[in-house]
Symmetry: C3
Subunit: 464 residues, 3 copies
């Protein structure tokens, strides 16, 4: 029987027949488990309002900077991939660029979606641009293709969104209160734009934050109170984690007076670049302190040079495909935080990286000692089959299977969620199958472990 | 049927029988394609004058610092490997050290040459030193073993040399004008010794450059004019690229007055170490600007600490085996250049590295966004089978197959060129075969991709 | 026939049947060779006095920070793993945590010990805690389980200990003089606490050193004399190497006056943090100079941030599981030393790393040129199956097989020594088998090479 790539039962499994057969059996064990997605960027309102998805280009191309970046690299100006360029034009550009995605993680997820979600089995090319656009558009118009129906079809149990600290969380509340909706959509507290002084909206953000949530306090103390209050509000609306996108994982404990002085200097627009770094490092310490108090899992996503190409940023804004990783060092950076909170009761700190060298050198050793530290799953450029296998190989021999976070899809592309989790499960099965084939763990134990890494780990680490 | 290692049809192919069989079929698709060598160090005069190759030691040992370095590490003083030491003595030292080359890339290329080029099938050892020397010498004396005949036998279509900016390019011109020569030998503009103030000959070089090519200009402006003129001269003589060997990939845009001041300071011998770094970074920016104007592909080879062992440098000069890589960071370093030229029309910038960590962390993300950026193939210590596989695994999931340069042999060892390209093709076949075996790409598509990476990529990236 | 994991003849061998069969035959070649252990932390007195091993917890859990760290990460306070906590309580904590060790190197060594040394074949769990404790305790009480008997059973030929420069080496002398003991137990000179000014005992150590060994000298010169004398004392008692645990591999040559001034400043308690770094770097240079004179192999183990969690250090002391690696750079750091001693006759310098990126980028290139430099085997967090394979893949293509140190168990866990060496041999067989399967070396040559890497390399590199 012949299979397409996207539906081949052995896709991503190791080529060696003996190992593959073990992997198949491990995969079977978890293939039907519900999806736990503890970190991502889907908009809760889309699910709450069950908004029909727009056309194929607006769903699959324009908002996905993984996709537009590679089309751009092939020579297509970003302007031709903006909403204003016309859905069919954008789709055609995408179809023409489709061969460039061979071998990429994005290509794998897209191909799987086309076939498994939208029923499109042909290749994409200039020739099939119209037909594929029409076919997917027709599917999108069907009632079964609305977000809530797909949420159920995709077998999603938990989906975390990422939210502004001042967000009302109305959609989350409405979903939680809706007896007809059976999933769990939880917010995530993401205060970067209130913490990073370099953020263009930091000053107005902080003013709004203090005005709305400081219980009448002012200045630095009011700021801390407001952050704590909003975190509490998130907890009350189901949040399980607070996420931090920072340039470096630096942490620092300032005394109250120092922190206050920096805060005031920043509000008067006088902060230097060093002041910003110091304040951000200090606020990571404060966020950890609050996590110890309110129980929100703390996740850190460092190491990206945001908006690398200034002209593109000026023309098209942030998140347009030119955030580029830099070398990251955790050992000394995270030490001040861990000195005080590394063994704090029930504190969970999940450390992500875009610099793979950190996995074996720093994250596995840290997570193998500190009860609070968990190794963040491969993320962004690294949540791809080979990279995920390298990750497991890099961390397991030091930290075992119990110290990592479980898969994070981190996506705003709702329809790619099943493909991403499926790929991750296949890679976990592949890695464990190799350990079984090499007589390093028993097959029975591997069957337990794959359930643990796919299902129990994210529940345990994210307190779900 | 029994095969020697060097001629085994499955050499370097993956052990898994299913994957190997796919790899074999992919390899067949490209095995007879001509060699495209867009960056290397063969001397054009050798081909133009069709100079017979000297003895085996002078051909295969003394000029190849990959080879002499490992013999030196085994305890043989470099003096015993210098031309003056006697060809047979050198050859004997090499033969005695031959077992040390097992598992190395150099050993693989040498073994392949011995058997496929020189017809020597035995092992090398003290016992066979005389016989192998004689056998190879005899071959070298045959008329079919002169450079032009081998150029044709090796099926080389394009061979780029690396040349001084003031080189007359007479040999290139003569070859181009010679109707009896059917290959294409193109020069490469390599201005390091005119840009790096720390180069011992920088001052006289710059004086000569301005005197010969500035159209009467002087000072910094004359210097820039002369560089632009010589680049144009290279373009007129078939050059397709300008190559830059730098310690770090730093780039910087100085204003005219700052650059001029630094230039004058350097000419008066007053430049500090920091001045040199700043000027070099600025000149990388200028070289990019000129590449945008004249179309030369810009290639950057950073990250080597040159002449690490000062006593060896003093006794034997540069390129004697003790250039040692250092950690490299591209993301912030190359940003000033990319701000202005990253999306410039038809600009090609190929970024190489000796620090493998940069492949997945920085080069694949950069090349996956900027239309100008291409990922340089694994180079120097990294153009070896396992390292090349690690490279493909590191970059493909982010950048696909279209954003890398294609193989670069970078060699001065003319007779090793077929072995190097053959090894590269086998590794490309192996990598693609695994993706097919894992159902990540179709076998048909892999057949297209292997032609693309082996043949179309270097043509496209180097504008051949 | 069914095998347990710990005794499966194919454990750790590659899954591909063809490659596995080659690996099996290579492994057979070395499986019965004696153990050469040129660097480790077993106490010589334990062997000399043939002290019976204590209970299972005190033997296998409390002193092994590889083991306690992961139990601690699971939430068990270190206080519950201290000797005072009660052997059976500690053992129960360990048994409960046992599943966390799946996939780790420690788990592999422990499992192998339980079965091959102690004859315990069941799994460990809360349920089997009592039974396993009793079973292992019973074995430990048998006369055949005393250190000297196990030394023989384990087929250890050479075991190096790690010793304080002022150690009397009485146990070593007694063992050497004992006609009934047939092994070789050699001391290793480890002067960190006399060189690193930041060490809390540096001042009294230096005073004691000068008082006891300076031949009446004083000050910096007396210090150097005393170090040289104690090194000589170690040589006279069989030492073959001097080992250096440093934060970075920095080396530096100060002139006499500068060094003396720093030394005096430190003794008066005035040294800054920079002074300490400079002095340590200078002393690495001095240690190399002395190694050139007295022939002790110099080994450097850098790159660990010691005692990362201050509260744990204060409560439980050093070596309690929170030494965390940091990024390491060798190329520039080790240059001052290599300038003067890199080609010195019979000087051996073995460079270790906890930062894997250094293997291909720096260590293989350095060892592939300098006759003095050898690549240290994967160490600490890296002496695990996958990490050892990555190591071989990273260094071999540049440096071949002759430039690495051979396996180092670096352990204080005497009973784990056979399991560690066995794992290493299996990985060497696996790597070589792949090269054979890929037709990169002949099977005959692989049989020579595996003996070389397992047996000849450590003898040659450590002058045994």
């Amino acid at each position: 029987m012949s299979h397409s790539l996207a539906t081949h039962p052995d896709r991503l499994l190791p080529a060696d027949p003996g190992t593959r057969s073990i992997a198949r059996s491990l995969l079977e064990r978890v293939q039907d488990l519900p999806i736990i997605s503890p970190h991502g960027h889907v908009d809760a309102a889309v699910i709450e309002q069950n908004t029909p998805f727009p056309d194929p280009a607006a769903l699959l191309v324009t908002p996905d900077h993984y996709v537009t970046r590679l089309i751009h690299a092939s020579g297509v100006p970003l302007a031709q991939l903006q909403p204003g360029a016309g859905a069919r034009n954008i789709w055609r550009s995408f179809c023409e660029a489709w061969p460039l995605f061979d071998g990429t993680a994005s290509g794998y997820w897209l191909r799987t979606q086309f076939e498994s979600v939208f029923g499109w089995q042909g290749e994409l090319s200039a020739e099939t641009a119209e037909a594929s656009f029409d076919a997917i558009s027709a599917k999108l118009a069907e009632p079964g293709f609305r977000p809530r129906e797909l949420f159920k079809d995709f077998n999603i149990e938990v989906l975390a969104t990422t939210d502004d600290p001042l967000d009302s969380l109305d959609s989350h509340r409405a979903l939680a209160a809706d007896p007809s909706f059976h999933g769990r959509v939880v917010p995530t507290f993401r205060p970067d734009a209130y913490i990073n002084i370099a953020h263009p909206a930091w000053t107005p953000n902080v003013e709004r934050l203090i005005a709305e949530a400081s219980d009448g306090g002012s200045g630095y103390q009011g700021y801390l109170t407001a952050l704590a209050n909003r975190r509490r509000y998130f907890v009350d609306h189901g949040a399980v984690s607070a996420d931090h996108g920072v340039r470096t994982p630096a942490t620092l404990k300032l005394d109250q007076a120092e922190a206050e002085a920096l805060f005031n200097k920043a509000r008067s627009g006088q902060a230097t670049s060093l002041d910003r770094d110091v304040f951000e490092a200090h606020m990571m310490y404060q966020m950890a302190r609050m996590s110890v108090e309110d129980g929100l899992v703390m996740t850190i996503h460092p190491g990206s040079f945001r908006n690398h190409h200034q002209p593109t940023f000026e023309a098209f804004g942030a998140d347009t495909g030119h955030d580029i990783p830099v070398a990251t060092n955790y050992t000394e950076a995270v030490r001040p935080l861990l000195q005080d909170f590394g063994t704090a009761k029930d504190f969970h700190l999940v450390l992500f990286t875009l610099d793979e060298t950190v996995f074996s050198r720093e994250l596995a050793p840290l997570a193998g000692f500190y009860p609070s530290v968990y190794i963040g799953a491969p993320w962004w450029f690294l949540d791809a089959p080979d990279a995920m296998l390298r990750f497991r190989s890099a961390v397991t021999e030091t930290a075992g299977f119990s110290r990592s976070s479980g898969f994070i899809d981190d996506t705003r592309a709702f329809c790619s969620i099943p493909a991403r989790h499926d790929a991750s499960r296949r890679i976990e099965a592949s890695f464990l199958a190799r350990l079984v084939a090499e007589h390093r763990i028993s097959e029975d134990r591997a069957h337990e472990l794959i359930v643990d890494v796919v299902d129990s780990s994210p529940r345990r680490v994210f307190k779900l």
